[in-house]
Symmetry: D2
Subunit: 346 residues, 4 copies
């Protein structure tokens, strides 16, 4: 095989969990060449001295991007908003893992994120990187806003039902996440002795992923009026490192049966390499280290409610893996290139 | 203090997790004297040889009840149904931890438990042992049916709102349980390597606690017609040993505010020794080894749904502790006697 | 029973894991009355607002000790060294959970703890609170230095063999601890996603408990020359919240058999309320929330090495429980008063 | 690239944890084609119905090997001993993951494994598949006996020191393993509620890996007399799914320094793709899902004992990954082909 030129890529902030997962996956990617990785506090240190599992990675943390054509941003959202315009102006393409460019309506940023958006012109052109629903927009994208981990799980679970109008857009998303979703920053709520042997809910009635899920529900269902979509979203924390399980409740529209739902989901996801519509209730363990999302649909016949359950690895399909999936499509590569399908089990 | 006669009690099947928790708690109970404990497969063995943490318990597993006035049954429900009539006929009082006498409608047993109830006459006189809601019936009770762990969590969370008509009896109970709820019997779904670092839902749309929760909802709300109550119940499994967190969703009735809800709950539980209505979202870790249940109420203002969350230790307030709480009331003892209030934290 | 005056006690720094465990245990102690609890950063807050499991504790964190006769110090060791002289001068008795007064040789402090000891005169009179080995010194003690968690596990395991000269004082202590031993202070090494599904060793060849274990070995064996005792101590971290398992290796002296060892241990610990010498290998789970220590002895016949294994809860027998055990003896109370014997299992 | 013929391989007993890990790794192997997989109890079922994470594997469990040139046996050792001679007689090559052919001395089988070896002639020709120490024997091997998980960890840690005579062959191996090492068979000792939040030792003074480690120590050190090697081996269980940490204690020979040890290890493992000799104490988490082993050396200067610590994933480098590493060498393929280097972190 003639050696194809590999595309030089960079990871900005490779020292958080999203960033280091990008490093792990890009390290083995056949078409992307990881040429730069930054991390403010670790600048100058070899990556392997901070992350020994990456023993073969011959790079040191730097403090800027110079050579990369494609840049993955694993920054806090505010920092992404500040950096992305510069990178784009330099002619680079950007895949942003933060929430900085996910919401189309700039007015949501002060409310939900606490700041005025300083690059709101980009909100319109940024492509929301839920590949399964926005695949055709990615090859032309300069800036991709990767979905949050919960929105990925919720929208993959709800998408076909919303799109085909099988359910009213009035849903409850009750989700359970592993602790890595809270990042590598030290907090009492991520302290081992507090989290181990504990389960709790958090941000009840007001998590930042609420407007993002709602926006996705509206776009997929084609219903744009805010009056028509109703969403309750409750995240929970369980003592696992990785994984999200989203249990979604909705009412079937008049005349729709569970068989209809299953037929729609089988068709919608038949060709998707990373989504498996299954008969059994999925387990987060099926997805550890993998870019797959498993989805099941059940009708609670006692209450006639539809229950859609999805499972994924929040750091792969919910973050770094999904970002690389977007990048593969941006460069018209095989969508699965360099992405693990089989999870580490048990 | 003059030595009061202690009431001789027995535990039938002390070799499961519910049973051994009864042993731990009764061991230190000042008014009950544990005189007999049975376990079919371990009959003849000293309890401490099977459960070394009970090093001071000078009893061997036996195979029948002879001296006890009060008998705690920690059997599978079918075995409880067979044994209880005999014990009652012998003049003993019975506190049953199984589902054998929880459902008033005998027709539910074939559907949900797979057998015809052989002692259905007792279903009417058995007192449902959710002390907070049935306290006044306990002193006269000969047979107490202790609630299941999920129904305890759900009904303590929903009770005051149903009772006062703050919500319509149309709710979703989304609950997460520790693995000890599945007992000491070996199953792949309780195998460490399968459960660790995993979260899943199970019995989706058809868990046995569904009719029990529904029955409780109806009795508390005073609505008896089956048409009027609607319940979806989804249990999940998380890698913790003990604990249940129940997140309950309901719609407030017209004109009811969150302040109304909080006032009702504060009043309802103000005098309850084992229920704490709190402002913060509760953690199962707060309850480890304790007979307490913590409850919080939030209104998701974006969707106008009421969210009630309860946390308890499934083996204490959800099983053995609650059974002893019932027994304390049956004998007009101090309700908290011998029951731990403070959980083991962290 | 005539109401006996309860002894007023205080906990200094009740906001760490050792401190809050003291609160849990003292809350239910029949002879000690918890009248004051301090915590610098939480001063002014009700204890229950910081630690909801202590819902019934009607105390707020303060910043000084005024009424208590007996003071438990759960401070960092340097702070204990500074505060204890004042409390003693005020006529109070002090039980210190830190390392501040454990080492008799003041020269060890600069080497192992990084500071000159400012109250070295107290090192001679402080009683080392390993009750099983220093019981008779406690009733007169004004200042008790409670052993570290690892030294407790190691010295209870090795004590009888050293005392009776069954082994040479040349041992390896290989221990595994839960994460709560590292406290409530945020550190990457206590961050859930780093610790979960991980096992490692730490402080290899130089943990601060090394000189304390060695000192105890010498005092128990009666061998004072430093040349004669040799100790290797390697602590490990496992993803559990509570528990220490110490596996100790030694060579039997000529002519000594395993039967001799077992006879000595059975005799040594026959009357001890908190030490169980058992035939089976102990589990840390047997001790969760309990003040018990389980010990077993095995001879590896292939290598003729004696293996002594002990298990305890690092926050109870390894810290707060042991401190209360000392206090019970200081006041000539029943040694087991207010201390849990049965662990929470499973 | 011209399509090279892939070598047809089979996995016998793909339904245990070792077997399913072989499936995961072989699925993605570029030179081996997985053509058959057997599992007695699941024969006839599609692999993906038993193991949903292997969603893309288009194979059903069968009951015999027909097409494969190379067969991986993931059977209990007794079953391997029975099957291997037939497979070899049919002209296939065999990589056995069990203990069936690891011990050269057939007399050890009745003592340690409880049966007379029925194919003892093969014990002499079987190659012990610790590639780092037996690489040159593998290309000609017809039957490879893959090392046990503990022996792999112990011998990689001790090997260079024994080979170069830096230590006397008198060592203690104190190891901690994850629960998957005990397999998928249901046992109370693998039951979640028993293992979670617990640490214990097991098989103290008599684990089956003892003779295997001792044999390896002798072969590497070149000391054949049984009198000269002394080994104590104590395995522990921690609540993790995967991972082994082996902490090995030895005395340096006269005149040998830690610098000597480090120089020897750096040289010994400099070219090894799967062994990293590191300065920091290794973590099992560094190895999750990877075929790497990390090793560190420390001298406890207080006791002058050498401490060698190794970490690996028991199902990869300790089982399935190592087996594929052997197979790569057997077929003169790149040794790292199809084997993951980077672990899943965190």
């Amino acid at each position: 095989m003639a050696e194809r030129r590999r595309i030089p890529v960079a990871v900005v902030n490779g020292a958080g969990y999203g960033g280091v997962e990008l490093l792990r996956l890009l390290r083995a990617h056949p078409a992307f060449e990881l040429v730069e990785v930054t991390a403010r506090s670790d600048a100058g240190k070899p990556v392997r001295s901070v992350f020994p599992p990456l023993a073969d990675l011959d790079l040191a943390f730097g403090d800027r991007v110079e050579r990369a054509e494609l840049v993955f941003l694993a920054l806090p959202d505010h920092a992404s908003v500040e950096l992305a315009p510069t990178l784009l102006a330099e002619g680079r393409r950007v895949v942003d893992l933060s929430a900085g460019f996910r919401l189309r309506d700039e007015k949501l940023y002060p409310t939900w994120y606490g700041y005025e958006h300083s690059a709101s012109a980009l909100l319109e052109t940024a492509v929301y990187g839920l590949t399964e629903w926005t695949r055709e927009q990615l090859p032309e994208a300069r800036l991709v806003a990767c979905p949050g981990c919960y929105p990925t799980a919720a929208l993959l679970a709800l998408g076909p039902a919303l799109k085909e109008g099988l359910i009213a857009p009035d849903v409850i998303v009750d989700a359970i996440s592993g602790v890595s979703g809270a990042g590598r920053t030290l907090r009492l709520t991520s302290h081992f002795s507090e989290v181990n042997e504990d389960v709790t809910a958090y941000s009840v009635g007001g998590h930042r992923h609420w407007p993002e899920i709602l926006q996705g529900m509206r776009e997929i269902s084609g219903e744009v009026s805010s009056k028509e979509a109703r969403l309750t979203f409750t995240p929970h924390l369980a003592p696992i490192t990785r994984g999200i399980l989203a249990t979604c409740y909705a009412n079937l529209r008049e005349g729709v049966t569970l068989a209809d739902v299953r037929a729609v989901y089988e068709h919608a996801y038949a060709q998707e390499p990373f989504v498996e519509f299954v008969a059994e209730t999925p387990h987060t363990k099926w997805t550890l280290g993998s870019n797959r999302c498993f989805i099941a649909a059940t009708l609670d016949k006692h209450s006639q409610r539809l229950i859609l359950i999805s499972a994924l690895d929040n750091l792969v399909k919910g973050a770094a893996g999904q970002a690389i999936q977007c990048a593969n499509v941006m460069y018209s590569l095989l969508e699965t290139l360099g992405l693990p399908l089989e999870g580490v089990y048990p």
